[in-house]
C-alpha cells in the first residue's frame, strides 16, 4: 500500500509527464522540419532515418528561392494578407459598433444572419464566387483575391461582442461633448478595445496568410501566388526524397510569419479567442 504522501507524489510526476507529452508531441513535427531542412541529400536517403543531421548545411534555404519564385510569393502574401487584415479590422470595428450599440429594426436578425455564414464552408459558394469575380472586369490579381476578403463575419461577431461591454455612459458623454460618431468609434471606443482588435488582427492575418482554396481558384500565374500556393508548387515539383531538405526549408520559412505574429501577440490573442468561445 502506498501512503497518501507517496500517492500525491506519484500523481504529481504523472501530471508532469503528461504535460511533457503535451509539449513534445506538437514540437516533434517542427523539430523534424528543422533537421530535415539542414540535412544533405545522402542523409535524407538513409534507412533508418538519422534523428540528427550529421553535417548540417543551409544550402536548402538558398535552393528554395531558386526553384520557385519564393521571394515574390512572400511579397504577394504580405500584400494580400496585410490588406485583408486592415480592411477586416476597419469594417468589423465599424459594423461591430453599430450592431453592439445601435438599436434599429431587424438588427438582431441581420446580425445573426451574418454570424450564421461563419459556419458555411467556403467550398459551397466557390463556383459562383469565381464566376462573379471573373466578370467584374477587374484584371488586377490582388484585387481579385481581395474582393471577398475585405469584410469578415467572424470579425463582425467578435467586435460586436466586445463593443457590448463598452459602457454607454462613455459614448453618451462623448456625444454630449459634440464628438461625431466616427470620432467616437475610432478615438474613444477603439482604444479601449485594443486587446480585441489585436486578437482579430492576428486571427485575420493568420487566416488570410494560410488560405489556400480561394487563391488557388482565382489566381492564374505563378508570379501572383501567395506563399501557400508557392509551397504547394514546391511539393509537386520535388516529390523525390533528395529534395526533402528544400521542401522542409520552404515549409519552415513559409510558416514563420504567422508563428512570429502569433508568438508576439500570444497572451492577448489566446485570451481573446477563449473569450469569443465563452461568449459565443
Amino acid at each position: 500500500m502506498m501512503s497518501p504522501r507517496w500517492r500525491t507524489r506519484v500523481s504529481r510526476w504523472l501530471v508532469r509527464a503528461a504535460i511533457g507529452v503535451v509539449i513534445l508531441v506538437p514540437l516533434f513535427p517542427v523539430y523534424w522540419m528543422v533537421i530535415s531542412s539542414l540535412k544533405r541529400p545522402a542523409d535524407l536517403l538513409s534507412v533508418p532515418p538519422t534523428w540528427f543531421p550529421h553535417d548540417p548545411t543551409f544550402a536548402a534555404y538558398r535552393t528554395v528561392f531558386q526553384v520557385i519564385p519564393f521571394a515574390r510569393s512572400f511579397l504577394n502574401s504580405f500584400l494580400i494578407a496585410g490588406t485583408a487584415t486592415l480592411s477586416v479590422l476597419l469594417t468589423s470595428i465599424m459594423a461591430g459598433y453599430v450592431f453592439g450599440k445601435y438599436h434599429f429594426k431587424g438588427r438582431d436578425a441581420l446580425f445573426w444572419a451574418i454570424v450564421a455564414t461563419m459556419f458555411m464552408p467556403p467550398i459551397v459558394t466557390l463556383v459562383p464566387l469565381y464566376w462573379m469575380v471573373q466578370h467584374t472586369g477587374i484584371s488586377n490579381a490582388y484585387v481579385r483575391v481581395l474582393l471577398p476578403w475585405l469584410a469578415n463575419a467572424f470579425g463582425v461577431f467578435l467586435m460586436r461582442q466586445f463593443m457590448m461591454d463598452v459602457p454607454d455612459e462613455l459614448i453618451d458623454a462623448a456625444r454630449v461633448d459634440g464628438a461625431s460618431e466616427g470620432r467616437i468609434v475610432f478615438r474613444v471606443v477603439a482604444p479601449l478595445l485594443w486587446p480585441a482588435i489585436l486578437t482579430l488582427g492576428v486571427f485575420a492575418f493568420v487566416y488570410y496568410w494560410n488560405n489556400f482554396l480561394w487563391p488557388l481558384t482565382i489566381l492564374q500565374s505563378a508570379s501572383q501566388y501567395p506563399v501557400v500556393l508557392a509551397l504547394a508548387q514546391l511539393l509537386s515539383y520535388n516529390t523525390t526524397v533528395q529534395y526533402q531538405n528544400v521542401v522542409m526549408a520552404g515549409a519552415l520559412i513559409g510558416s514563420l510569419p504567422t508563428i512570429v505574429v502569433f508568438l508576439l501577440a500570444q497572451r492577448v490573442f489566446v485570451q481573446g479567442i477563449a473569450r469569443s468561445g465563452v461568449k459565443g
Partner: protein, 318 residues
C-alpha cells in the same frame, strides 16, 4: 447570456427609438445624423458580405438547377430542374465522397473533443510548472499554414526513411502504410488535423473550465469525492455548453478539409480520401461541371444546416 446583454443596453444610445432622458436627448438633427453615421459604418460590411457571401449562396442554388459547362459563357446554361440532385442521389462517387467525409469527421471529432477536454483539464487544474509553455506550444500548431503542416506530415509518413515508420518498426508494429494504402490514408490525414487543431479546442475548453465556480469543487472535496468523481459529476456536466460548441466548430472545420487532400493524396489511393470539398472542386474546376458541382455544394450546405440545428438544439435542451 447574449440575450441578457442585448436587453441590458442603456436607453441613451438608442438613436432610432425616441429617447426620453439625456441632455442631448431626442434632438431630431442629432438623431438623423446618428442614423446616417450608422448606415455609413454598416454599409461596407453589408456590401462585401452581401455581394460575396449571400448572393453566391443564392447563385449556387440557381446554378444547381442547370447544366452548365464552366468553360462556356453562363448564357449557355440550360435549365434541368432538379435532375442534378436526382443524379447525385444515384451517383456512387458522390455517395462515396459523402461517406469518406463522414468517416473523416467522426474520426477527427471523436478523438479531438475528448482529447481536448482531457488536455484542457490537465492544463487548468494541477498546480505545476510548464502549463503556460504547453498551452503556447499547443496553440502554435494552429497558426502554421495547413499546407506546411501537410508537407511536414508527408515527410513524417515517408515509408522506410520516415521517422514514424522507424518508430512503428522499433516497437514491433511492422511496416505501416500511412498515406499509401486505401485502408490507412484517411486516418493518416485525420491524425494531422487532430495534431493541428487540438490546441485551439483546448483553449476553448480551458476558457469553459474557468467559468465553473471553484467552490463547487471545494464542496465536493469536503464530501470526499476524488478527482474522477469530481470530473464526472461537476466538470463534464458544467462543461456541456463548451463541449457542444467545440463539437460544432469541430464538425464544421473537419467537413471543409481540402488542402492536405489536394497536395498529398489527390483523393487517393483509389477514392479513399476523396472528401466532399475535393470532389466539388474537381467536378467544377477540372471537369467543368458547374451544375453538378453546385448541386453537391448546395446539398452539403443543407446537410450542414441540419447537423448544426441538431447540435444547437442539443445545446439548448435542459
Amino acid at each position: 447570456m447574449m440575450a441578457a446583454s442585448v436587453e441590458s443596453l442603456g436607453a441613451p444610445s438608442r438613436p432610432a427609438a425616441p429617447v426620453r432622458t439625456g441632455r442631448w436627448g431626442g434632438h431630431p438633427t442629432h438623431l438623423a445624423q446618428q442614423r446616417r453615421w450608422g448606415a455609413l459604418m454598416l454599409s461596407p460590411t453589408l456590401l462585401i458580405l452581401g455581394l460575396f457571401t449571400f448572393v453566391p449562396i443564392v447563385l449556387t442554388f440557381w446554378i444547381s438547377l442547370h447544366a452548365w459547362n464552366m468553360l462556356t459563357p453562363i448564357t449557355k446554361m440550360s435549365w434541368v430542374g432538379l435532375s442534378n440532385y436526382t443524379n447525385l442521389f444515384h451517383d456512387p462517387t458522390f455517395r462515396s465522397s459523402l461517406l469518406v467525409t463522414l468517416v473523416y469527421v467522426v474520426i477527427v471529432v471523436g478523438i479531438t473533443v475528448p482529447l481536448s477536454i482531457l488536455v484542457g483539464m490537465l492544463l487548468y487544474f494541477p498546480r505545476v510548472r510548464g502549463k503556460g509553455v504547453a498551452r503556447t506550444v499547443l496553440f502554435t500548431t494552429y497558426v502554421i499554414p495547413t499546407i506546411a503542416v501537410a508537407m511536414v506530415w508527408g515527410a513524417l509518413y515517408a515509408p522506410s526513411y520516415g521517422p514514424l515508420a522507424q518508430m512503428f518498426h522499433a516497437v514491433g508494429l511492422g511496416q505501416p502504410t500511412f498515406l499509401s494504402s486505401p485502408s490507412s490514408a484517411l486516418a493518416s490525414l485525420a491524425a494531422f488535423n487532430i495534431w493541428q487543431m487540438l490546441g485551439y479546442y483546448t483553449v476553448l475548453v480551458v476558457a469553459g473550465l474557468t467559468q465553473i465556480p471553484g467552490d463547487l469543487y471545494e464542496a465536493a472535496r469536503v464530501d470526499g469525492a476524488g478527482f474522477v468523481r469530481q470530473a464526472m459529476s461537476i466538470t463534464l456536466p458544467l462543461l456541456r455548453r463548451t463541449t457542444v460548441f467545440v463539437v460544432l466548430i469541430g464538425v464544421i472545420n473537419a467537413v471543409q478539409v481540402f488542402d492536405p487532400v489536394y497536395v498529398l493524396t489527390q483523393g487517393g489511393p483509389i477514392t479513399s480520401t476523396t472528401v466532399i470539398s475535393y470532389d466539388i472542386q474537381r467536378t467544377a474546376f477540372t471537369y467543368g461541371l458547374a451544375g453538378e458541382a453546385s448541386a453537391m455544394a448546395f446539398s452539403l450546405l443543407v446537410l450542414l444546416v441540419a447537423v448544426a440545428v441538431v447540435i444547437l438544439a442539443f445545446m439548448r435542451s435542459r
